[in-house]
C-alpha cells in the first residue's frame, strides 16, 4: 500500500516535472523542473529495488549533468535571451505530434501481457526469475517456492531488496554470480560487462578531450586560419 502511494507520488512528480519542462519558457525554471523530474526518477529506481542505480542517478544526473546544464544556462543566459519564446503555433504542433506519439506508445506498450510473454520464453540458466516465479512475484511478492535452491533464493532475495552493488560490480569484471554460466553453455544469456566497462573509459577520455577542445578559446588569431568560408 505504502509502495503504491510512493509510486504514484513520484510518478506524478516525474511526469509533471517533464511536462513542466516542456511547458516552461524560462530556461532557469526549466532546469528546476528537470531536477524535480530526474530526482523523482531516482526515487522510482529505489522503488524498483535498484538502489545503486538510484544513487547513481542522483549523483550523476542531478548532481552532475543538470549542474552542467545549469552552467550552460548561466553562460548563455545574458540579458534578453533568458526567455526565448516558442510561438503558440509551434507549441500546438509540437503538442499534437507529442500526443500522437504518446498514443502510439501507449497503444502498443500499454496492453501487453508481460507475464504471458515471459512464460513463453525459454528459461534462463538458473535464473531466479523463471516464468513461474514471475507470476508469483506478481501475486504475492514472494520468492519462496521459486523452484530453485536455497542459495539462489537468497541471491534473488538480495536482488529484490535492491542490494545490487556487489553484483553490478562483479558483472563489470565479467562475472555473473547470479547465473551459472558454465551450465548455461552456448546460451550465454548472462554476459559479464567487462568490455563496455573498460571501453567506456576510453570513450569518456575522448569525449572530454573533444569537449575541452571546443570549449577552450583558440589561442591563435582567427585571421590566420587557413580556411575562411564564412
Amino acid at each position: 500500500m505504502i509502495e503504491q502511494l510512493l509510486f504514484y507520488t513520484f510518478a506524478i512528480l516525474t511526469c509533471g516535472g517533464a511536462v513542466a519542462v516542456v511547458a516552461t519558457q524560462n530556461v532557469v525554471r526549466m532546469a528546476f523542473w528537470l531536477v524535480v523530474s530526474l530526482g523523482s526518477v531516482a526515487a522510482l529506481f529505489f522503488l524498483l529495488h535498484a538502489d545503486f542505480l538510484g544513487a547513481a542517478q542522483l549523483l550523476i544526473y542531478v548532481g552532475g549533468t543538470v549542474v552542467l546544464l545549469v552552467f550552460g544556462v548561466m553562460l548563455t543566459a545574458s540579458g534578453p535571451y533568458t526567455t526565448i519564446k516558442t510561438s503558440p503555433a509551434e507549441g500546438i504542433i509540437g503538442g499534437a505530434v507529442g500526443l500522437m506519439l504518446l498514443m502510439v506508445l501507449v497503444s502498443s506498450i500499454g496492453s501487453v501481457d508481460w507475464g504471458a510473454i515471459s512464460g513463453r520464453l525459454p528459461a534462463s540458466p538458473e535464473s531466479p526469475f523463471t516464468a513461474d516465479s514471475i507470476r508469483e512475484a506478481h501475486a504475492e511478492e514472494s520468492l519462496v517456492n521459486a523452484g530453485s535452491t536455497k542459495a539462489k533464493t537468497d541471491l534473488a532475495a538480495v536482488q529484490q531488496q535492491g542490494r545490487t552493488v556487489r553484483q553490478l560490480g562483479l558483472s563489470f569484471l565479467g562475472l555473473r554470480p547470479d547465473r551459472n554460466l558454465k551450465e548455461g553453455g552456448a546460451n550465454g544469456l548472462a554476459p559479464g560487462y567487462f568490455l563496455p566497462f573498460e571501453i567506456v573509459s576510453v570513450h569518456l577520455l575522448v569525449v572530454l578531450i573533444g569537449a575541452a577542445y571546443l570549449a577552450r578559446a583558440k589561442r591563435r588569431a582567427v585571421s590566420e586560419d587557413r580556411v575562411s568560408l564564412d
Binding site: 569484471l173 565479467g174 550465454g188 560487462y193
Partner: protein
C-alpha cells in the same frame, strides 16, 4: 561463490564457444593499440614531445599497427582451424565478417590521417585533439562492427557518433561549423534516444540483449501470434522501428537524413570524407549483423519478420536513393552535393541488405540459377565490395575538395571552372571518382552496383516488389549521371575565369600522389575484381 572461484572464472571464463578474458584481450589488440595511441598523444603533448615529433606520427603509427594486427588475424583465420568465437563473455564476436570491417576501418583511418596531414586541417596545436577524436571514433566503429549485444550496439554507435559531433565543429571559429555541429549533435542525440527506447522495449520483451539469442526467443514468443492485433507484436514492431530509426540516422536514410547535408556542408571536407565512409560502413556492418541474427534460420514467424523488414528496407532504399539523387542536382556547394550523393549511395547499399533479407525469408524450394544458399552471401559480397570501392571514390572526391579549398578558399562548384587547365591531375582524378560514383564501367563503382543489382534481381524471384527496387536502382543510376558529370564538365570543359584564384599542384607533389593513389585504386578495383570479391565473399560467409 567465494572470491577465489570468481577470480578464476574471470581469468578462464571457460564457457563453450567463448574466449577467455585474456584471449579476448588479445583479439581486441587493434582496438587497444588505437586506445593507447590516444593516451600516447596526450602524454606527448603533456611533455612537449609533440614539438619534436609531430602528433600525426603517433596516430599514423597506431593506425598502421592496428591494421597490421588485423591483417595478421585475417591470415590466422585463413590458415589455421580458427573458428568464429564470442569474446568478452559474448558481448562481441570475432569472425571473418568483423575482421573484414575492422581491417576496412583501420585501413581507412590510415588514409584519413594521411589526408589530414597533407591538407593540414588540424594545425600542430590542435593535432592531439583531432587525432584523439578520430581514433576514438574509429574504435567505436570497430566495436559496432563486432558487436554481439544490444548494449554494445548502443555503446558503439555512441562512441562513433559523439567524437564525430566534435569533429564536425572542429573549425570552432566558424559560424557554419558550429551550426553544423549543433544540428548534428541534437539530431544524433534525438535519434539515439529513440533507438535506446526501442532497445529497451526489445530487451524487455525478449528478455535478453544478446544477438545470438534474439531469433530463438522471438520464435518462442511469436510462434503463433504474428498479427498486429496482438499488442506484443505491435510492441515488437514499434521497438524494431525505433531501432531502425537509429540506423536510419547513422546511414542518413530518408526521412532521417536531415542532419547529413547540413553537417557535411559545415564540417571540414576531411571530416566529411571520414563520416561519409567510416560511419556508413560500420553502421552497415551492424545493421547486417543485427538483421541476420534477428532473421535467424528464417522459419516460421521469422520468415514473415524477415520478409516484411526486407521489403520495408527496400521501400526506404527506393525513397532514399531517389531523394538523394534528385536533391543533389541543384546543389552549388560541392560538399553539400557530395552529402546528398552519400545519402543516395546509402540507398543503393541498403538495397543489398533488403535483398538479403528477402532472400533469407525463403529457405527452401527456390530453384533458380545456381545454389540458392549462395544468394545471401552474394548479396553481402556486393555490399562489401561496394563499400570498398566507395571508400576510395568518396575519399578521393573529398580529398580533392579539401586540396582545392586550401588554395581557392572556396567549395562552390562554379569556382571549379576550368581547373583541368591548371591542375590536370586533380581534374582527372575527380572525373574518375565521379564516373565511378555514377557506376560507369570499367571503374570499381560499376561492379559494386552490378553485384548489388544482381542480388536484387535474384530477390525478385521471392517477391515482386523487388522489381520496383531494381527499377529504381537502374533509373537512379541514369539520373545521377547528370550531376556527377556536371562537376567533371565544369572542371574539364569550361574555361577558367580570368579573375579566379590560380591553383597549382605539381604532379609529383605528395598531395597529387595521394589523390592519384586513391583514384588509381578506384580504377584498379574496376579491372582486377577477383581478389577483393573473394575476400568479401569469404567474409560474408561468416554470417550464415
Amino acid at each position: 561463490m567465494d572470491f577465489e572461484a570468481l577470480f578464476k572464472q574471470f581469468l578462464s571464463g571457460d564457457v563453450a564457444q567463448q574466449a577467455s578474458i585474456l584471449r579476448s584481450l588479445t583479439i581486441f589488440l587493434p582496438e587497444l593499440v588505437l586506445s593507447s595511441s590516444i593516451v600516447l598523444m596526450l602524454v606527448a603533448r603533456l611533455v612537449s614531445l609533440d614539438r619534436i615529433i609531430p602528433t600525426h606520427w603517433f596516430a599514423l603509427l597506431g593506425g598502421m599497427t592496428s591494421f597490421v594486427i588485423v591483417l595478421f588475424q585475417f591470415w590466422e583465420f585463413g590458415n589455421s582451424q580458427t573458428v568464429p568465437v564470442e569474446v568478452f563473455t559474448g558481448l562481441a564476436i570475432h569472425d571473418e565478417f568483423s575482421i573484414f570491417f575492422r581491417g576496412f576501418l583501420t585501413f581507412f583511418l590510415v588514409f584519413v590521417i594521411a589526408l589530414t596531414v597533407l591538407t593540414g586541417i588540424p594545425d600542430d596545436e590542435d593535432a592531439p585533439d583531432f587525432y584523439s577524436l578520430l581514433c576514438g571514433a574509429v574504435v567505436g566503429m570497430m566495436l559496432m562492427s563486432s558487436a554481439n549485444h544490444l548494449l554494445m550496439l548502443f555503446i558503439g554507435i555512441e562512441m562513433a557518433s559523439v567524437p564525430s559531433y566534435a569533429m564536425t565543429g572542429f573549425l570552432k571559429g566558424k559560424r557554419r561549423s558550429s551550426e553544423a555541429a549543433l544540428k548534428f549533435v541534437v539530431y544524433g542525440a534525438g535519434a539515439a534516444g529513440v533507438m535506446l527506447f526501442g532497445i529497451s522495449l526489445l530487451t524487455g520483451i525478449l528478455g535478453t540483449a544478446q544477438f545470438s539469442e534474439l531469433a530463438p526467443r522471438f520464435q518462442a514468443v511469436f510462434a503463433n501470434h504474428a498479427g498486429m492485433q496482438d499488442p506484443a507484436t505491435r510492441c515488437v514492431a514499434l521497438a524494431l522501428l525505433m531501432i531502425a530509426v537509429g540506423f536510419a540516422f547513422k546511414l542518413s536514410l530518408v526521412p532521417f537524413h536531415f542532419w547529413c547535408p547540413d553537417a557535411f556542408h559545415g564540417a571540414p571536407a576531411e571530416v566529411g570524407g571520414f563520416l561519409s565512409v567510416g560511419s556508413k560502413a560500420a553502421a552497415f556492418a551492424l545493421l547486417v549483423r543485427l538483421t541476420t541474427s534477428l532473421a535467424g534460420d528464417g522459419s516460421g514467424a521469422l520468415s514473415q519478420l524477415s520478409l516484411s523488414s526486407g521489403l520495408g528496407l527496400g521501400l526506404i532504399a527506393i525513397i532514399t536513393t531517389t531523394f538523394g539523387n534528385l536533391a543533389a542536382y541543384s546543389q552549388r556547394n560541392i560538399k553539400r552535393m557530395l552529402a546528398y550523393s552519400t545519402i543516395a549511395h546509402a540507398g543503393y547499399m541498403l538495397m543489398a541488405v533488403s535483398a538479403l533479407l528477402v532472400l533469407q525469408s525463403v529457405q527452401t524450394d527456390l530453384v533458380f540459377q545456381g545454389n540458392h544458399q549462395e544468394n545471401g552471401p552474394r548479396a553481402m559480397e556486393g555490399l562489401l565490395y561496394y563499400l570498398c570501392v566507395y571508400l576510395f571514390m568518396n575519399l578521393g572526391a573529398f580529398a580533392i575538395v579539401a586540396l582545392i579549398r586550401n588554395q581557392t578558399y572556396s567549395e562552390e562548384i562554379d569556382d571549379y571552372k576550368g581547373l583541368a587547365q591548371q591542375v590536370p591531375v586533380l581534374a582527372i582524378c575527380m572525373a574518375i571518382c565521379m564516373f565511378s560514383l555514377v557506376g560507369i564501367p570499367p571503374l570499381g563503382g560499376f561492379y559494386g552496383k552490378a553485384f548489388i543489382f544482381a542480388s536484387v534481381y535474384e530477390a525478385t524471384n521471392v517477391h515482386w516488389f523487388m522489381w520496383l527496387v531494381l527499377a529504381a536502382g537502374g533509373l537512379n543510376t541514369v539520373i545521377s549521371l547528370f550531376y556527377y558529370l556536371r562537376v567533371a564538365k565544369t572542371m574539364c570543359m569550361d574555361s577558367r575565369p580570368a579573375d579566379a584564384v590560380p591553383v597549382t599542384l605539381a604532379a609529383s607533389s605528395s598531395p597529387a600522389m595521394y589523390v592519384m593513389l586513391v583514384s588509381g585504386m578506384v580504377v584498379f578495383l574496376g579491372i582486377i575484381i577477383d581478389p577483393l570479391s573473394k575476400v568479401a565473399l569469404h567474409a560474408a560467409h561468416a554470417l550464415f
